[in-house]
Amino acid sequence: MKSRRTTLNRVDVSTRRYLTFSLGTELYGIPVLNVREIIRLCPITRLPRVQPHVSGVINLRGTVIAVLDLRSKFQLPHVQPGERACIIVVQINGHPGQTSQLGFIVDAVEEVVQVGSSDIEAPPEFGGVPATHFIQGVATLREGVTLLLNIERIISEDGPIALPHIPGERDTIDTNAKQ
């Protein structure tokens, strides 16, 4: 069973396109198949007595969807949302036959990239298993090192998540760029 899942993931990764977005200087990618739409940051109704990373709910054309603050979820420092801030609406499969939608507040959406399996490396063992559990892989793209996220697992985790910062290559690229 385990080997099968690994195979599946690899197949998925090799054929998928990713939407990349940024939180501060960090770059992340989520499978385009999960992305339903991208909307501008809109007024959010706060929910009482919930985890701090749950920003609240919004009215998305009649559907009430919950919105998560990804900065808070990934334990990044809080900043005042900038001009490029927006909500990525993702669709995930919950129970069989049921899908649910969820919004992620991100600093900025970058672009849609085609990532071949050769560009993807296994997630590094930073900070032990828990963090890599949420990452499908690490891709080195034009903009820099991008963490490809496993969206389902991130959502099903109730608490905040500490994702690894990949310093090595990213910093190398930055240095290269400067030189």
Binding site: L47, V57, N59, R61, T63, V64, P96, Q98
Partner: protein, 761 residues
């Protein structure tokens, strides 16, 4: 069918199911008076397909060639029939195969039978299935939902049969249902299910061909089989719901299979016919179970026998069985009642079979994903809001144009109509839930040795799908209660001058802007005095209270009350009645009890038409707005100085008309600062849930609004503070508070005590 065949591949099972489906259509046509050749052809191919279904479940090159050949012949036959020409002969080879196959499969079955019977005693494990979730997910899902329907219709059919054993149509429909089941299970390699369905199908086939009589023994056997299949199906459902449960599903069916096989082989119930209602194990069954050697002996005989000898062998079988139980035969022949005579010579009655009138028949419905439906209703709700935004837009209303006004009116009318229609899509008749009660009544009556008859009316009354689902549980409790404690045993009933058969009436109707469900029994009724005495005894009511009848009867819904009463053995109503009440309150309904001692008891449940829309009280707390369901609101008022006291350890309490109601400062609880500086500046909304009341302190009442409840996303499932959310008229999301939780969870002791807003006078 030809199209399907073109897709058949050797060693694959694709296409088997549709083929089976077409074949069943053909079989249905056979009944409409077509020629013998037609019937023969269909029989041949049925045998082939069955063989494939029973065997590997895959097509081989050989079988596909055979099927193609058959198709050619069949086409010729159809053409010949149309042109009125002589029908082509059924090729001899097939006839041969037919007999050869028949012999082979009989022998094969015999072999398997002998083996199973012999091996069963030392084989520990029960049959189990392992659904292949990763490969067949979609198919399994389809199979699961289809199976549920099939099983339901099987159950309905059986209960019809019990009342009217000669109903040929119903027998056919049950037979077909099992057949479809077998096909599906075989296709998905759920072998244990397939085998069981196969045996049940064979049993019914024997019944259909009048080889076996239908009696309560057979019906019980088939019901038990359907139950086992149901358990398998439930297991699959669970795995579909949560893939974590992946693994094999085991249902103890080995014994059942054995019983089925022995009945099929020996045809025992024919000799031990019992009148419906009396349950007893036919003696012959046990006997045959205990002597597996007889089977193996017969098995050798049959395998060696050439086709000619098959029928004599059958005779031997018959006579040996009849020889075992001669007394039984004589007795039953002497006692034949008209119903049994009918079985022997089944007459096709022209009246619509009961199964059809109970809704088990063919319907012209479209299966629809409920999510799509909810989506549509949501979108329409959105449209209504958008429409009102346009109509009420100040810029639009400034335009003095008659055509525009007319167009807007038209728009309003259409949207309202559309909304009504969309909401009606979610409505389903209560029939399905009511029908489940037939089985319950039957089983319980047998168990309790009572004679109970269930009457239903208004099954077509429609209710929101979500309400219907939850209503089922409550009904089960109440019907069980009526049989357990209401209906007296037949002897007692006769001595009281009532008919020995008790009656439970279940009805549904539209009333008071909602739905009224009534459950009425003509049993012993509720004893007002006993309940009152019990209540006084247990301190449930004050000694000097003068409660009304309905107050007293409502005591039976208190948790714990019933059990205490049952110990005394008097009247004893109320097992799980608190559950009933809770369920109904969850549906925002109410329940009313009336009874006449010794005569009858009637429960009246009043439910809202839909859960989708509620009347909400919009309140303001600080910057935020919340919706409180108006049904839970008892009153609201602005507290005056002196009304509020602080009790140590209990927080603030407001005293109104002699009642003390604890206050919950909503703003602090919901983590939003109140705008009002003191309680005097705000409003107290008194809400109740069950018997508990609480005063919710809010800053302002904004208004009353009808809102469409939208469930919060799955990620927020863990919370119980909110019933859901609603899109308010201005497009903002308003949160609907769950009064139950607010009243129950927020015990004032748990909230940090605060300094009194008003010093005690």
């Amino acid at each position: 069918m030809a199209e399907e065949m073109a897709f058949l591949m050797p060693d694959r099972d694709t296409g088997l199911l549709p083929l089976n489906g077409y074949l069943m259509d053909l079989e249905d046509m056979t009944g409409t008076g077509l020629s013998g050749a037609w019937a023969g052809g269909v029989t041949v191919v049925r045998r082939w397909i069955d063989e494939i279904l029973d065997g590997t479940g895959k097509f081989s090159i050989e079988s596909i060639e055979r099927l193609t050949g058959w198709h050619d012949w069949m086409t010729r036959l159809v053409v010949a029939l149309e042109e009125g020409e002589p029908e082509p002969e059924l090729p001899q080879v097939w006839k041969a195969t037919r007999t050869a196959l028949a012999t082979r499969s009989d022998g094969f079955k015999e072999g398997r039978r002998g083996q199973t019977v012999g091996a069963a005693s030392n084989r520990e494990s029960e049959p189990s299935i392992i659904p292949n979730l990763s490969d067949d997910l979609e198919l399994l899902r389809e199979f699961h939902s289809e199976s549920l329907e099939l099983l339901q219709s099987i159950e309905q059919g059986l209960l019809v049969l019990e009342e009217n054993p000669a109903d040929g149509k119903t027998i056919d429909s049950i037979f077909r249902a099992f057949h479809t089941f077998k096909g599906g299970a075989g296709f998905l390699h759920l072998d244990a299910m397939r085998d069981l369905a196969h045996e049940l199908e064979s049993l019914l086939d024997a019944v259909r061909r009048s080889e076996l009589p239908i009696n309560s023994f057979v019906i019980d056997l088939v019901l038990a089989g359907a139950d086992s299949l149901n358990q398998f199906t439930a297991g699959i459902g669970q795995q579909l719901q949560n893939p974590k449960f992946h693994g094999s599903i085991t249902v103890p069916t080995a014994d059942l299979l054995r019983r089925l096989k022995s009945v099929l082989q020996d045809g025992v119930p024919r000799q031990t016919e019992v009148t419906p209602g009396l349950k007893q194990q036919p003696a012959g069954v046990q006997e045959s179970q205990s002597s597996p050697e007889t089977f193996s002996a017969r098995l050798t005989l049959q395998v060696d026998a050439s086709p000619q000898f098959v029928s004599p062998d059958m005779d031997i079988q018959e006579s040996s069985v009849t020889g075992q139980v001669p007394e039984f035969q004589e007795e039953s022949l002497g006692n034949l009642n008209p119903a049994q005579v009918k079985i022997r010579a089944p007459e096709r009655t022209e009246e619509t079979s009961a199964i059809g009138s109970r809704g088990g028949g063919i319907s012209s419905f479209v299966k629809l994903d409920t999510a799509k439906l909810d989506n549509l209703v949501d979108l329409v709700g959105e449209l209504v809001i958008a429409q009102s935004m346009v109509v009420q837009n100040p810029d639009v209303s400034k335009i003095a144009s008659l055509p525009l006004a007319r167009a807007l009116r038209q728009l309003s009318r259409i949207t309202t109509e559309l909304q009504r229609n969309a909401l009606s899509l979610r409505m389903v008749p209560v029939r399905g839930t009511f029908n489940k009660m037939f089985r319950l009544v039957r089983d319980l009556a047998v168990q309790e040795q009572k004679d109970v008859h269930l009457e239903m009316s208004g099954e077509d009354t429609e209710l929101d799908r979500n309400i219907v689902e939850k209503l089922g549980d409550a009904l089960i409790h109440m019907v069980r209660n009526s049989i357990d404690h209401g209906i007296e045993p037949p002897a007692e009933r006769l001595s009281r001058g009532k008919p020995s058969q008790g009656t439970i009436r279940l009805s549904a109707s539209h009333q008071r802007g909602g739905i009224v469900i009534r459950i009425e029994d003509d049993g012993r009724g509720l004893n007002r005095d006993t309940i009152l005495a019990k209540a006084l005894d247990g301190g449930w009511i004050m000694p000097n209270a003068v409660p009304s009848d309905s107050d007293i009867f409502s005591l039976i819904f208190l948790p714990g009350f019933s059990t205490a009463q049952r110990i005394t053995g008097v009247s004893g109503r109320g097992v799980g009645m608190d559950v009933v009440k809770r369920n109904i309150e969850m549906l925002r309904g109410s329940i009313e009890t009336r009874s006449e001692l010794g005569e009858w008891t009637r429960f009246t449940i009043l439910l809202p038409l839909t859960l989708a829309i509620i009347d909400g009280l919009l309140v303001g707390i600080g910057e935020e707005r919340y919706v409180i369901p108006i049904l839970s609101v008892r009153e609201s008022f602005r507290p005056r100085r002196g009304m509020v006291t602080t009790v140590h350890g209990q927080g603030e309490i407001v005293c109104i008309r002699g009642k003390q109601i604890p206050i919950l400062r909503l703003g602090e609880f919901l983590e939003t600062p109140h705008a009002s500086r003191s309680l005097e500046d705000g409003i107290i909304v008194v809400v109740e849930s069950g018997d508990t009341t609480r005063g919710l302190f809010v800053d302002a009442l904004i208004g009353k609004q009808e809102v469409v409840i939208k469930s919060l996303s799955e990620t927020l499932r863990g919370q119980s503070l909110l019933v859901g959310a609603a899109v308010l008229a201005d497009g903002w999301v308003g949160l609907i508070l769950d009064v139950d939780t607010l009243v129950r969870l927020s015990n004032p002791e748990r909230i940090p005590s605060r300094v009194a807003a008003f010093p005690n006078p």
